[in-house]
């Protein structure tokens, strides 16, 4: 385990590559298990689909593994230490957990592979969950995925955890820190799935592609304002990094400016990426032109002829 001063040590010693940097700074069993289960199910699914004659393309599988690997690296390597003791790396960590990682996971469209990889008894058990359990869960999911609530939650979580007094306690208490990171990752997956998954994959939760573009643009604006506010603020907003010590010597304002820029520009650019993906869906999805998708699509050609 490298000591906290290892960053400096690594610069002093000629050997920079050190396997210890790949080990968790703090081991979070929830994160470790979630990643292991996701990879195990996906690998099983890949094998099952290959046997079934419908192998998954390399690109999709690679995208999925890259998404899992990025999220894992953000939480279970030395990055986690740096994120606890450097504001801009904390922002980079959240850019991965809330934006880049979930986008990759959603673009890989892993649902079918994960289902094929789930052991049959478990799948049967999940199907047999009584409706009085399933219905409230579905309702809760519906509420979270409401086209007004989902973007509010997405932006609201960023603002919530970046409120200086709340940020202070999240960095001081390991449980809050873990809650913060899990909330970002789960919300990231929910939001980007709602934005980027093809409509036919979303079933009843689907919202129109035009609405998605409006939401993607709308969430970019407050992120840009918050990022600019942090980057251009003339005094340190987050005292916790001075209180607990920074990972290496950097002026508090430089740290804050870099963190603000990471909140401002790449986060907003993810909305542009999102819009491009949605436009791609619109051009390739035969149901895209209609308001209610599959309900109306078959009816229209019949009516027009």
């Amino acid at each position: 385990m490298p000591p906290p001063g290892a960053w400096y040590d690594s610069k002093m010693s000629p050997v920079v590559t050190d396997l210890r940097y790949l080990l968790p700074w703090q081991f979070y069993p929830t994160v470790f298990l979630a990643c292991v289960i996701a990879v195990a199910l996906y690998v099983r699914g890949l094998a099952a689909l290959r046997r079934g004659g419908t192998p998954v393309g390399f690109g999709r599988a690679f995208t999925f593994f890259l998404g899992v690997a990025l999220n894992y690296a953000a939480l279970q390597t030395y990055v986690d230490f740096l994120a606890q003791h450097m504001f801009w790396i904390h922002r980079l960590q959240h850019l991965i957990l809330h934006h880049v990682g979930p986008v990759l996971l959603v673009l890989a469209a892993p649902e079918a592979v994960l289902r094929a990889g789930t052991p049959a008894p478990l799948l049967r058990g999940l199907c047999r969950v009584p409706s009085w359990i399933r219905r409230p869960i579905r309702l809760f999911f519906r509420i979270l995925q409401h086209p007004l609530i989902a973007p509010t939650l997405f932006v609201g979580l960023i603002f919530f955890w970046l409120t200086p007094s709340i940020h202070f306690t999240a960095m001081l208490d390991e449980r809050r820190y873990l809650l913060m990171n899990w909330s970002m990752l789960i919300d990231g997956i929910l939001f980007w799935w709602l934005m980027l998954a093809p409509r036919r994959a979303q079933g009843s939760a689907a919202i129109g592609y035009g609405t998605r573009i409006i939401i993607l643009v709308a969430v970019a604006v407050p992120q840009m304002i918050l990022g600019a506010y942090i980057a251009l603020h003339s005094t340190p907003l987050y005292s916790i990094y001075a209180v607990c010590g920074r990972a290496w010597a950097i002026s508090p304002l430089t740290d804050q400016q870099l963190g603000g820029l990471l909140t401002w520009i790449p986060a907003a650019m993810m909305s542009v990426v999102g819009v491009l993906v949605v436009l791609h869906h619109m051009m390739h999805d035969p149901e895209a032109g209609t308001r209610h998708g599959s309900l109306r699509a078959p009816a229209e050609p019949a009516g027009s002829s």
Binding site: P3, F168, T169, L172, A242, V243, C244, G245, A249
Partner: protein, 196 residues
């Protein structure tokens, strides 16, 4: 029935007590009750004796990470704490300031003993190996790193500025920062001594 009445009355009493304990004016230092891990360590004191948190369970403890070659922050902070303890009067004997060295290579027990002796009898110098220091830095979520040495081999250590304040029995209560004054420490310590 009677059990549930007893339970609920106990619950109400507990809520009232909680409300009372939280009803005073806020502390001048940041309140970190429930956020920071209880006091726990295995280190060596300035007399070379192994020591754990159990030795201080009857005291209010101030935990600070620093190093004796520190040019500015450590002496300033320790001077503020010394002045706060001086103002406490006889009650200061129930308070301990634990100065944990993050530079054990230079801070031998003899160096530590001479250094903390400058600030008062309540000051204790502690040191440990990198393994124990790493464990402590994870527990208290602080860090430190060594700057490049100059031509004489002297180097500075960048470190946390937090003063963790523990009530009796090692319960984390407050967090002192660089802008806190001696008067603020004195009044907060007085309150902690009275009700912890």
């Amino acid at each position: 029935m009677s059990v549930s009445v007893r339970t609920s009355s106990a619950l109400i009493l507990a809520l009232l007590l909680a409300a009372c304990s939280g009803s005073g004016p806020p502390y001048a230092l940041a309140n970190v009750t429930g956020l920071v891990a209880p006091l726990e360590f295995h280190l060596t004191d300035q007399n070379g004796q192994p020591v754990t948190a159990a030795a201080y369970r009857h005291d209010v403890v101030l935990l600070y990470f620093g190093y004796t070659h520190c040019p500015d922050q450590c002496p300033t902070t320790l001077a503020i704490l010394a002045s706060a303890l001086h103002a406490l009067g006889p009650q200061a004997s129930q308070v301990r300031v634990l100065f944990v060295s993050v530079d054990p290579r230079r801070d031998t027990t003899a160096v530590l003993k001479r250094y903390v002796g400058n600030f008062g009898p309540e000051f204790v110098g502690l040191r440990g190996g990198q393994t124990e220091l790493t464990r402590l830095s994870k527990r208290y979520r602080i860090t430190y790193h060594y700057e490049a040495p100059d031509k004489y081999g002297d180097y500075e250590v960048d470190h946390s500025s937090a003063v963790f304040v523990f009530g009796r029995h090692g319960r984390a209560r407050l967090l002192g920062q660089v802008d806190n004054t001696a008067q603020q420490y004195t009044s907060d310590l007085r309150r902690l001594l009275a009700n912890s």
